[in-house]
């Protein structure tokens, strides 16, 4: 791997930047691997990277049906925060946030992680009670955050409307200064480059069409390159988790639904934080390019189409225009959708499956991007050791039988 540095930039400028090495190799698959990771999104690539880096496994392949970071990794609104209510979730997302803080240096790739702060607005007395409770829970878990009131919010985001004569006036918010955004493509590319440097084979345009097991144990996966044998298979396929599970012959407590987002035309800098509101249901931040990145709600019904319903866009933009009246004249540039894997308790499923040596990491639903490094970290540990990582253990699929659900629906400022 060619290390990126200011010196390298200077050196390559003499040859008009025409001699940079390819960021990852183009390979054809081997007959067999120690670990096959299915899914080349952020979580899958992070899993492969930490398997190689922390656990010394070198014979790894990542199979991606499309191109790297062309799925939900490139379709989200890149918000990063760790202000979750329950201990289990808070610790997992906080591990992630800590990894984000050193990620660019670790990968030697600028993921443009920007800790611009995240505001979760409250519009009713009950919202404010929930916010106080969550901020207190966060602080007990060592996660930064405080409750702010309309005058403070106005200082953080001057364009926001804190007037009392709107339908849902802003009464306050929770504020996590360490939260922020990152560049989503760079996350996929950075992990891919670093994993490739450790010998991981990355195979794009390689959909898995079948999973072969014998005596309840994983044997191989079927692809357009034929059968690829694997000692262990790790599935990180988000919205398609149910499809892969049915190939292996079991069901998951997951429903796939489209979640959409949209971006506006580029504007001059006007919003240097992330603003989210559960009650009026919308979230917005401004990208480094200057466009407003706006998140919409998840569709209420199942679907695998990578698009969303029109009325969801309308409701979301109503919310955004109520929060920021000056945005009402901004034109929207593009809109798209991604298929998210929602679970009944809005928490992921990480760990073992009924098939031996087949592992699943799914159910991140509408908020997986923020967890990319932590998810890869604990999942790599789980796959390498064959037992759940300490932080991943509460997220095993068994919780849907024991009833030990981790109810993060709405409780943690989750905007869905």
């Amino acid at each position: 791997m060619e290390k990126y540095s200011a010196f390298k930039l200077l050196k390559h400028s003499f040859s008009h930047h025409e001699n940079w090495k390819r960021v990852w190799r183009s390979v054809s698959p081997k007959k067999s691997y120690d670990v096959v990771v299915v899914g080349g999104g952020g979580h899958g690539l992070a899993t492969a990277y930490y398997l190689a880096k922390n656990h010394g496994i070198k014979n790894i392949a990542v199979l991606e049906k499309g191109f790297l970071g062309g799925g939900n990794t490139a379709r989200n609104t890149t918000i990063i925060r760790s202000n979750y209510l329950w201990d289990e979730a808070a610790q997992l997302y906080e591990l992630s946030l800590k990894l984000w803080e050193g990620l660019s240096r670790d990968l030697n790739y600028n993921v443009m992680f920007s800790q611009r702060g995240v505001l979760n607005l409250g519009h009713s007395l009950q919202d404010m009670r929930d916010i106080e409770r969550r901020v207190n829970a966060n602080r007990l878990n060592g996660i930064d955050g405080h409750v702010v009131f309309p005058d403070d919010i106005k200082k953080i985001a001057p364009l926001i409307n804190i007037s009392k004569d709107v339908r849902y006036p802003i009464l306050g918010a929770s504020y996590q200064p360490r939260g922020g955004t990152a560049r989503h493509d760079a996350v996929a590319w950075g992990y891919a480059r670093a994993a490739d440097a450790l010998g991981v084979d990355i195979l794009q345009h390689t959909p898995v069409t079948g999973i072969n097991c014998s005596e309840g144990k994983i044997k191989s996966v079927q692809t357009n390159y034929g059968e690829i044998f694997a000692k262990k298979v790790a599935c990180v396929v988000a919205g398609n988790s149910g499809v892969l599970a049915s190939m292996a012959g079991f069901k998951l407590p997951i429903e796939s639904r489209p979640l959409q987002a949209l971006v506006s035309e580029p504007l001059k800098p006007c919003l240097d934080t992330v603003v989210m509101s559960n009650a009026v249901h919308g979230y917005v931040s401004q990208s480094n390019k200057g466009d407003l990145v706006i998140g919409a709600g998840v569709d209420s019904y199942n679907g695998y189409g990578q698009r969303g319903s029109f009325h969801i866009i309308e409701h979301t933009l109503q919310a955004i225009c109520e929060l920021f009246p000056s945005f009402s004249r901004v034109q929207m540039n593009r809109q798209w959708g991604g298929v998210v894997d929602t679970t009944p308790d809005a928490c992921p499923i990480i760990g073992l499956t009924p098939i031996k040596n087949l592992y699943m990491n799914c159910g991140w639903g509408t908020g997986g991007f923020k967890a990319t490094p932590g998810s890869g970290y604990v999942f790599a540990d789980t796959v390498a050791n064959g037992t759940p990582h300490k932080l991943a253990a509460p997220f095993s699929i068994e919780r849907f039988y024991t009833g030990a659900l981790i109810d993060e629906h709405g409780a943690a400022g989750v905007a869905h």
Binding site: G242, S246, K251, P253, S256, Y301, G303, Y304, G305, S309
Partner: protein
């Protein structure tokens, strides 16, 4: 935007009049106390979540407020048929 045919109102109406009620044809176990935690968990939470045709329940919540079943393609969103809650789908499997 979906245009959904309500088999009770016998009309095509806009999807915003309806609310989604999840996978159809899930039978509640006869005697919940007698079954294992695993069977109960399967009944409560585990779903087929197919990527082709899905049989699902909808409620005409802003109309007649009746529940009915819809068979819908999960990629094109084309509605193959709608039928009353007591009926079974005409065709179980659709070719893509």
């Amino acid at each position: 935007m979906l245009l959904i045919y309500c088999p009770y109102c016998k009309q095509y109406r806009d999807e915003e009049e309806f609310s989604y009620a999840g996978e159809a044809h899930i039978k509640r176990p006869q005697n919940p106390l007698a079954i294992s935690d695993e069977s109960w968990g399967n009944y409560l939470f585990f779903r087929k979540n197919p990527s082709d045709v899905h049989h699902e329940m909808w409620n005409h919540s802003s109309g007649c407020r009746q529940f009915f079943n819809v068979a819908r393609d999960m990629i094109t969103y084309e509605i193959k048929e709608t039928y009353c809650i007591s009926e079974s789908p005409k065709i179980e499997k659709y070719k893509k």
